[in-house]
Symmetry: none
Subunit: 226 residues, 2 copies
DNA sequence: CAGTACATCACCCATGCGGGCCATCGTAGG
DNA sequence: CCTACGATGGCCCGCATGGGTGATGTACTG
C-alpha cells in the first residue's frame, strides 16, 4: 500500500525538489501539487491523499487556513488527510495555530531529506513528528502551563498539611462555608474552624479567600474539575 | 567539543548496547553508567554530563524521580544536564510527568540506532525530540486543552458586570482584602464593599471565597498569571 | 511504655465582611 | 432637558470568620 502525497507550495523549485525526493521512494506516490491554499484544498478534496505537505506562507490562502479546511471538512466530505506543515523559517507563531488545527507535524525545509521522507511515513502511520526546535517549545509550554499535579512552591507546602486539613482546604476551594463543610465531613463546625485555622497558619494565608487562591495556584483544585 | 553522556538503566545489556553504539561516534563520549535512579543522580552530579540517557522503570528510584532531582538541583549545584528518557513500552503515563520534570526527550528503546544517536545530538544542542507516538499524544492534548481559556457559562454572566466591578472581582481573586483593594484602586473601603456587594448579587455568590472560585472557573484569572 | 502526630470539640473574643438603605455626581442617551 | 446608569461614598447591623487556648481520644513509633 503506497502512501499518496500531495505537495502544496508556491515555489516551483521546492515542489519539484520534494516531488523528486519522495517519488524516488518505492512506498510513496506524489499524486498532486498545488501553488496556494485555495488550490491545495481543491486538489486535496479531489485526490484524497494520505499526506499533505503544506507550506505555511503562500499567496491567496496560507497553509494554516488550508490545513483547517482540509482537517475540518464540511458535511458530506469524509476524507481527512494527514497534514505535515513545512516552513522555511524557524518556529514562528504559526506553529501553535497549525497544531490546534490538527496538523500532524511541523518540519523546517532545511531538514535532511531522510527526515522528510521518514516524516511522511510517520504521519501516514498516524503518528506525529515535529522539528526538534518546535518540540522544545511545545514541551516548555506544556511544562509551565500544565501546572496541575506538581508544582514547585505551593505543592511543597501542601505536604505540610495533614490529610484532613487538605480535605478541608479542598472544600474551602469549592466555595463551601464552615457549616457546609462540617455537614459534608460529619463534623462539628468548631472542628472545621480548627482545621481551617491550622491550614491558614501553615500556609501563611490570611483568610479563606486566599486559601481558595492557593488551592487553585497549587493545583489542589483545577478550573473545570468541579 | 564532544558530548558527554551517561547511561542510567538497570539492564546490563541495554547499557552495554547503548554505550557501544554511542562510544563509536566521534563526537560522543560515554562518561558514566548507573543501574538505578539513586546511583544515576550520584553519577550525574559527579561527572556532570551533557546528556543523561535515563530509563523510566528502575529499582530503588525510577527514572522520573531521578530526572526531577537532576533537573531541579539543590542550592549549590549549578550543573543541569539534558535528560533523554527511554522506555521499552509505548507511551505510558510517565511521559507527561517526565516532560513536566523538564526532560528534553522521550524515546522508545526499539527506535533505530541512528535515531538514538541523532537524539543525543539534538538534546545536547538544546532542542528536544520525542518518539512519534508521544508527539502525537502531546499534540492532541495540546490542541484540545488549549481551547479553554474562556468557558461558556460563567464568562457569559461576567458580561453583566461593569468594568469597575470586574476589576474589583479580579483583585478579590488575587486574595486582597477590602482595605487593600481600596488602597490599590484609590477608593474608600466602603466603595469597595458596595462594588463587591453588587458583584456577589449579580453572580449569585455568597461570599468572596465563592467569588474567587468563580473568577478561576470563568477564566477571569488563571493559575499562574500571578 | 513514653512521646508524638492527628483528629476531634469547646469557649471566648475581636473584627472583617456582607446586607440594607440611601445620597451625590458625572456622563451618555432619549 | 431629563432620565438612566455607573461610580463613588456613608451608616448601621448582625453574623460568619479567624485567633488564642485548652482538653480528649486514638494511633503510630521509638
Amino acid at each position: 500500500m503506497t502512501i499518496r502525497v500531495i505537495i502544496v507550495d508556491d515555489q516551483a523549485m521546492v515542489r519539484a525538489g520534494f516531488a523528486a525526493l519522495l517519488a524516488a521512494q518505492a512506498d510513496i506516490d506524489v499524486v498532486g501539487e498545488a501553488v496556494n491554499g485555495v488550490e491545495g484544498v481543491e486538489v486535496g478534496r479531489r485526490t484524497h491523499p494520505d499526506v499533505v505537505l503544506m507550506d505555511v506562507r503562500m499567496p491567496e490562502m496560507d497553509g494554516l487556513e488550508a490545513a483547517r479546511q482540509l482537517l475540518n471538512p464540511p458535511p458530506g466530505v469524509t476524507h481527512r488527510p494527514k497534514v505535515l506543515m513545512l516552513t522555511t523559517f524557524d518556529v514562528d507563531d504559526y506553529v501553535y495555530e497549525a497544531l490546534r488545527a490538527g496538523a500532524s507535524g511541523f518540519l523546517l525545509k532545511d531538514a535532511p531529506p531522510a527526515d522528510l521522507i521518514s516524516a511522511v511515513r510517520v504521519v501516514a502511520a498516524g503518528d506525529a513528528l515535529l522539528a526538534p526546535s518546535v518540540t522544545r517549545r511545545l514541551i516548555a509550554d506544556f511544562a509551565t502551563q500544565q501546572r496541575k499535579p506538581r508544582r514547585g512552591d505551593p505543592s511543597l507546602q501542601l505536604n505540610g498539611l495533614t490529610p484532613r486539613e487538605t480535605e478541608v482546604l479542598e472544600l474551602i476551594a469549592r466555595g463551601l462555608s464552615n457549616g457546609e463543610i462540617a455537614e459534608k465531613l460529619v463534623l462539628a463546625e468548631q472542628t472545621v474552624k480548627t482545621h481551617i485555622g491550622r491550614v491558614l497558619h501553615k500556609l501563611d494565608l490570611r483568610d479563606r479567600a486566599q486559601a481558595v487562591v492557593f488551592a487553585y495556584e497549587s493545583g489542589l483544585v483545577t478550573p473545570g474539575d468541579g
